[in-house]
């Protein structure tokens, strides 16, 4: 097999389309760590919430003889919350602030594309999400004996699908939010219905039939459902994976349509 390269463009192409991604991701991670309040809410708050819930005696009683306890049910819900916090609140706040202050615009004047900065922000958020998820699972296991996900592969698949769906939603909010403040506000307003259907106030297992039916079609309802199934060692329902994929495609398409660099 032979390939021909054009020597004139080889030098410029050598940097590749993701040039600058590593440096930008490191930079974004450093900036994230410096925002102590934001870092606390994404990294530590879910674990703190888990600890508080776990200290309520009734959370440690089996729902039915031999069945899971409320704390077992809540652990995947909190993991779903970790994903939605970083995607729907963290991501739009950063992106909209950067657009408002002209950081994205300045990026356009350099050889690095602003899309790369967007990827770096997402990579940072996902890294933080992963750390926070592991923290929740380990603390739940050590403090309350919540079993680690029985099927790690299924759990990763559920995390991936839920992640793609909520990050799509986050990008859509980032696309339409005119300022960092607005991004934050929209994200917060969205957080409540998302988490309601995800079961934060009323776990899906005890939801009335109709409510759970609706929840199945929301990003975090499907996400929590998929994570719960994987936590028990089952494969997520096809319906849930399809719903998550649908949300991902829809939100990504809308975000692409409405996104503005300035």
């Amino acid at each position: 097999m032979t390939t021909t390269t054009l020597p004139t463009t080889a030098h410029r192409r050598s940097r590749g389309p993701f040039a600058g991604l590593r440096a930008l991701t490191l930079s974004e991670s450093r900036l994230f760590a410096r925002d102590r309040v934001g870092a606390f809410f994404t990294l530590a708050f879910p674990t703190v919430l888990l600890l508080v819930l776990g200290l309520i005696p009734s959370f440690k009683e089996p729902l039915a003889p031999g069945g899971p306890r409320l704390i077992d049910v809540y652990t995947p819900i909190i993991v779903a919350m970790v994903l939605s916090t970083s995607a729907v609140q963290g991501l739009p706040a950063v992106v909209a602030t950067y657009r408002e202050q002209g950081v994205l615009r300045r990026m356009r004047t350099t050889p690095v594309r602003p899309q790369t900065l967007l990827l770096a922000i997402m990579a940072t958020m996902m890294g933080v999400t992963l750390v926070s998820t592991v923290l929740v699972l380990v603390v739940a296991r050590l403090a309350f004996g919540v079993p680690l996900p029985q099927s790690p592969l299924a759990y990763l698949v559920a995390l991936l699908f839920t992640g793609v769906a909520v990050y799509g939603l986050g990008l859509l909010v980032a696309a339409v939010a005119p300022s960092g403040r607005a991004g934050n506000a929209i994200g917060t307003v969205l957080f409540f219905p998302l988490m309601f259907f995800g079961g934060l106030w009323l776990p899906r297992d005890v939801m009335p039939e109709l409510l759970r039916g609706i929840s199945d079609f929301t990003p975090l309802g499907a996400g929590a459902g998929a994570l719960q199934a994987a936590a028990w060692g089952e494969w997520p329902q096809l319906l849930h994976l399809a719903v998550l994929a649908g949300w991902a495609v829809l939100t990504a398409a809308l975000a692409t349509r409405f996104f503005r660099w300035e």
Binding site: R12, A23, S27, Y98, Q101, G102, T109, T110
Partner: protein, 302 residues
């Protein structure tokens, strides 16, 4: 050598015509000013040159590159300082410089640039804690990091105090002395007059004139104004009879104002000396770019 060529540039935003017809050429090694009232289309014009906006008509070449088609190559040779563009608040000067250095094939020495722009003591200061002048200087550092051959500086000194402004002007001259062609967008007359080799005067989306600052002043034929307090009564008609003199007015407080052209100052003082009158508190106002600006753009009549 021509570095930038803009030919018949047009740009509309919906119904609003931002740039109706702009053409100019920038030569290598000059400081070229783009001057005009607010909303004249200056920023839109340079944003098309920078490849940030897609023109509706006309052609642009920067070092032979088409800013839309050859944007990848353009980014390596064009340094841009944008109007109102910030950095993340928590990023320090040193971090910004080292991050932006990774974007270029052959970056300049960032530390040396930071020293030269007088930011050495702010190296570890976060962007949000820098003063307006320091933020602007950091923007210049970032614009020069890629060793550009052309630098576009938009409203560089807006919001700076007079001292920082003068210091920034010296920096712009140094940049040019290093062989970088500079395009300076400004609405400050004093800045354009002091720095620019040539100026494109833009008004309502069109180029009104392209000339040197003194060339623009000459075009307007604005009169010089002489004011003084005479030691004795002045014969106004005698002064009016002088060919260089246009008008003579004696104010109530006894001061006299004479307008005229050419060598009017020497003519008037000679005539007064002949009458044994001493002109105290003598002031001469030369026409400046300001006057040319008003005359050529019709600013005052709006």
């Amino acid at each position: 050598m021509t570095v930038i060529e803009v030919n018949g540039l047009q740009k509309r935003y919906g119904e609003h015509v931002a740039v109706a017809d702009v053409s100019f050429e920038v030569q290598e090694g000059e400081i070229f000013g783009v001057l005009g009232p607010n909303g004249a289309g200056k920023t839109t014009t340079v944003e098309c040159v920078e490849g940030l906006r897609v023109p509706d008509g006309g052609t642009i070449r920067v070092l032979g590159l088409d800013p839309q088609r050859d944007v990848v190559a353009l980014r390596q040779v064009l340094g841009v300082q944008l109007q109102d563009s910030k950095l993340p608040e928590r990023m320090t000067v040193a971090e910004a410089v080292s991050l932006y250095s990774t974007f270029y094939d052959d970056p300049a020495d960032g530390d040396a640039l930071v020293d030269r722009l007088n930011l050495a003591r702010q190296r570890d200061t976060r962007f949000g804690n820098l003063s307006g002048g320091q933020q602007q200087r950091l923007a210049i550092v970032l614009a020069l990091l890629g060793r550009p051959r052309v630098a576009v500086l938009d409203e560089l000194t807006t919001g700076l105090d007079p001292q920082s402004r003068r210091h920034t002007w010296e920096l712009v001259e140094q940049i040019r002395d290093d062989g970088v062609t500079v395009v300076l967008v400004t609405h400050f007359m004093e800045e354009a007059e002091r720095l620019c080799d040539r100026i494109a005067l833009i008004d309502a989306g069109r180029v009104v004139a392209v000339d040197t600052p003194s060339g623009l002043v000459e075009r307007t034929r604005a009169p010089q104004v002489i004011r003084f307090r005479p030691s004795g009564p002045v014969d106004e008609d005698m002064l009016r009879a002088l060919p260089e003199v246009g008008s003579v007015v004696t104010h109530r407080d006894g001061r006299v104002e004479v307008t005229g052209t050419g060598d009017v100052l020497a003519t008037v003082t000679t005539a007064l000396a002949h009458e044994r009158i001493i002109a105290a508190e003598l002031r001469v106002t030369q026409p400046r770019l300001d006057d040319a600006f008003v005359a050529l753009t019709g600013e005052g009549t709006r």
